[in-house]
């Protein structure tokens, strides 16, 4: 009857498994693909929570754009995997122990009891024609306009940063400047030189 629960567990399992693969897979291309899978599962979970807009944006932006770009980069660069992984085994035992203990603690602490589930009941399901996007937009441009604008500034800074850190004016790069090409006159390119005629020399002397 309640189909939501099995679907949730299905995608949640895939999500956790895919995320684990991201960090354990030796091949970066495969790891990136596993990450795509993880994103996809997460998007499904969001849709399940009736946040359709966010789910689709996640797919469009992360899977459609970011990850594809990422894959290109990974595939184009020749990364020495063996070297990257050299420390992995060495630190696995202690890292594993700490991770396991942390997990244990989190399981012990983060039961449902700590959160106020009664105080915050599930919202009533919205009708099918309810516009998720519109509701989000309403919030973002009114109540949350300040953090939203801040996010825009953060993006601006990251653009500035990316350009500042990567754009180089190379002296040896060749590029065309059409305006310059158009403005060229004959005199710039061709020079007529007058030369006195010379007598033919004897070869060999």
């Amino acid at each position: 009857m309640d189909l939501q629960l099995p679907i949730f567990y299905f995608f949640a399992t895939i999500l956790v498994a895919a995320a684990s693969l991201v960090v354990t897979l030796r091949n970066p291309v495969k790891a990136a693909l596993a990450l795509v899978l993880a994103f996809f599962s997460a998007a499904c979970l969001w849709v399940l929570l009736e946040a359709e807009f966010l789910g689709i944006v996640l797919l469009l932006v992360y899977v459609g754009a970011v990850m594809v770009l990422f894959l290109f980069v990974v595939m184009m660069l020749d990364i020495n995997i063996a070297q990257l992984r050299s420390g992995f085994g060495e630190y696995l035992p202690i890292g594993g122990i700490v991770a396991a203990l942390m997990l244990l603690e989190m399981v012990l602490v983060l039961g449902a009891s700590g959160f106020d589930l009664q105080g915050m009941p599930n919202p009533a399901p919205q009708p099918a024609d309810y516009s998720n996007t519109r509701a989000l937009g309403m919030l973002v441009y009114t109540d949350y306009v300040y953090p939203f604008e801040l996010a825009a500034v953060v993006l601006l800074v990251s653009i500035v940063a990316a350009i500042a850190l990567t754009l180089r004016k190379r002296k040896d790069t060749r590029y065309q400047n059409p305006a310059e090409q158009m403005a060229v006159r004959r005199d710039d390119r061709v020079r007529l030189v007058k030369m006195p005629s010379e007598a033919k020399r004897e070869s060999g002397r």
């Binding site: 603690e105 012990l108 602490v109």
Partner: protein, 654 residues
């Protein structure tokens, strides 16, 4: 008016800072012009303040509160009453004279600017001391003058003996300051305030209270406080047995001996006790102690002056002895007389020192009196002013010293304290000794045969005007201050509320009764007439005659006497063995104890354990950190995770 009060110390501080930091840049002339004009301004303002106070405008208030600790405000404030104003005038006037004199005396010294910086700083510190309205600022001034004194005794720091002397002065003063500080601490503890007015107001309520220093032994609170404060005064005003530093301080340049070690700084102790009169009056035990210490100093230090051959040292022992007179006056509750003597003494003793300095320059830093003599013709101004100074010191009427000293002796005579008997003998006999050594100095230096070598004699000539002008200017008050201020200071309750005397101790009041009904010149004449008939005057004249006989008529006789009384003269030459005692018991004991501690504490525990140990610890920790601080990001990230993990595990109460 408050601005003026603030201005007086500041116009001394500013030149001190400028001369100290930028003296090398602005040059000698600018330095001394700056310093002299600063102090001259301070002097002028002080006179203005003095006149203003005489007109009845006293002031007591906080200028600036710089902190509060434990509910006690730490303040900078001024208390301007007649006592303060008198001290201000004396301090700034003598300081001004010394500033001018220094221009001539230090002319060739490479540390010229540094010297001006020090003496201007000293004037500032001394003014802060006398103008204070609370114990903390008093202590600040107290330590600051001590510091400058230390710096100035060791001014010629290449000189081994100067370094030894300034160290000695510093250490001995520490002993006194410890007592002083403990006294202030007790005041704070029991009165809950450091403000003079508040403390004096509540002092009568606390009289008779006991304090248990050791469990089960109740001691009178006021006695303990005042004795501790007096220990401070003993250090600064060089009373037996903390006097040993003053003679050695003569290693410093002569202007300093005049300014700090004769006229002003050493009188800080006297001033302090007078200022604390409301406390001292509450303990007869302390007053007796004060009187005994004073009379010991007055008489025995004068005796040592007899056998000294260094011209400056004779004057130094004379200073000690005169400080003893002031202390005796304090013990007899004749505070006004003590301050009166302080003022007259400041003038004539500064005069004598500067005159001695003038002689020393003329003889190219020869200080041994056995190699002087007959300088009268070569140095008429110095000779004349030295005579005036000596007559004032000895107490020949109508010179200033006569009035102030006679007032003290009269006061002691009238005192009913247990120690007044000893004190009277000491101060009266002291007059004879004073007269003897003073005229001995005068005759040996200016009269009789010349005993210096040819070359020096031919070069001996009067000092330049910058030296003689202060001499003349100081000679004037040495003559006139006595009869001008005798009536107001001794008979007239001049200081008003500043000095409080219990009726039972009011010797000056009783003295005034003896001259009941006389005023103005009548009073002066009566006092003169009484003084001339008295024993002290006879002693003074006798000293003059004996000195004339021994050092001019029969110059061989002193040597004979010296040999006959070998034992006594040896005692005197060793200055009663204070130095030897200190060296053996304190210095030696400390050294032995130190050696022991060094071997066990320093070498084993500190060097072995702490120093090398901490170095090892630093090395060890650094090595460990370097292991972790490897430069690898994942190490760092891992450290953060571990940190998170530790916090979670330790602080999450599952």
């Amino acid at each position: 008016m408050q601005t003026v009060y603030l201005l007086v110390p500041l116009v001394c501080l500013v030149p001190a800072i400028i001369a100290g930091l930028f003296g090398w840049k602005i040059g000698r002339v600018a330095t001394h012009l700056l310093a002299i004009s600063g102090v001259a301004l301070a002097c002028g303002l002080s006179v203005w303040v003095f006149l203003d106070v005489l007109a009845g405008n006293e002031f007591n208030g906080t200028v600036y509160a710089w902190g509060v600790t434990g509910g006690i405000p730490l303040e900078m404030g001024f208390l301007i009453d007649r006592l303060t104003a008198t001290m201000m005038v004396v301090v700034t006037f003598v300081s001004l004279m010394v500033h001018i004199y220094t221009v001539g005396y230090m002319r060739e010294d490479p540390g010229y600017q540094r010297f001006f910086s020090y003496i201007a700083l000293f004037t500032f510190a001394m003014l802060m001391l006398v103008m204070s309205n609370n114990f903390l600022q008093l202590f600040f001034g107290w330590e600051a003058v001590g510091l400058v004194s230390y710096l100035l005794i060791g001014f010629w720091f290449q000189k081994e003996s100067a370094i030894a002397a300034n160290l000695k002065a510093f250490l001995v003063n520490r002993v006194g300051d410890l007592g002083f500080l403990l006294g202030i601490a007790l005041v704070l503890m029991h009165f809950g305030s450091l403000d003079y007015a508040a403390v004096f107001a509540s002092a009568p309520h606390l009289a008779g209270q006991n304090v248990e220093l050791f469990a089960g032994h109740g001691w009178d609170l006021m006695t303990v406080i005042t004795i501790l404060l007096f220990i401070g005064a003993m250090g600064k005003s060089a009373q037996v047995p903390l006097h040993v530093w003053l003679p050695d301080s003569m290693e410093g340049p002569t202007p300093i001996s005049a300014l700090i070690h004769a006229a002003t700084m050493v009188t800080a102790g006297i001033y302090m006790v007078a200022r604390m009169s409301p406390l001292f009056e509450l303990s007869e035990v302390t007053l007796n102690v004060v009187m005994v210490i004073g009379s010991l100093t007055a008489f025995f230090m004068a005796l040592v002056g007899l056998v000294q051959t260094d011209i400056k040292r004779v004057v130094a022992y004379s200073t000690l002895s005169q400080l003893g007179y002031m202390t005796v006056a304090l013990g007899a509750s004749a505070y006004s007389a003590a301050i009166f003597h302080l003022a007259t003494h400041a003038f004539f003793k500064a005069l004598l020192f500067l005159a001695a300095g003038s002689v020393i320059i003329a003889l190219h830093h020869q200080q041994d009196m056995r190699k002087m003599g007959g300088l009268r013709r070569a140095m008429p101004w110095t000779w004349l002013t030295a005579w005036i100074g000596t007559l004032a010191l000895v107490g020949i009427p109508p010179f200033a010293g006569f009035f102030s000293k006679d007032a003290i002796i009269e006061a002691v005579q009238l005192s009913q304290l247990g120690a007044s008997g000893i004190a009277l003998v000491a101060v009266t006999a002291g007059v004879f000794v004073t007269s003897l050594y003073s005229f001995r100095l005068l005759f040996l230096v200016f009269h009789g045969r010349t005993r210096m070598d040819e070359k020096t004699r031919d070069h001996a000539q009067e000092s330049p005007w910058v030296v003689t002008l202060p001499l003349v200017l100081l000679a004037i008050p040495s003559v006139i201050v006595g009869f001008l201020y005798l009536e107001p200071m001794v008979f007239g309750n001049f200081f008003g509320e500043a000095i409080q005397v219990a009726p039972a101790h009011d010797v000056l009041g009783r003295l005034a009764e003896e001259y009941h009904g006389k005023r103005g010149s009548d009073l002066l004449l009566a006092f003169l007439w009484h003084g001339v008939q008295g024993l002290p005057f006879l002693f003074a004249v006798a000293g003059l005659i004996v000195a004339w006989f021994l050092y001019l008529e029969k110059p061989d006789l002193p040597g004979v006497i010296h040999k006959r009384l070998g034992f006594f003269s040896r005692i005197l030459e060793h200055k009663y063995g204070f130095d030897e005692f200190n060296r053996f018991v304190f210095a030696g004991g400390a050294r032995r104890l130190g050696g022991l501690l060094w071997k066990i504490g320093d070498v084993r525990i500190i060097d072995g354990g702490l120093v090398n140990g901490s170095a090892r610890l630093v090395g060890w920790v650094s090595a460990a950190v370097r292991q972790v601080q490897s430069g690898f990001v994942y190490h760092y990230a891992f450290a953060m995770i571990i940190g998170l993990f530790v916090l979670l595990t330790l602080f999450l109460k599952l």
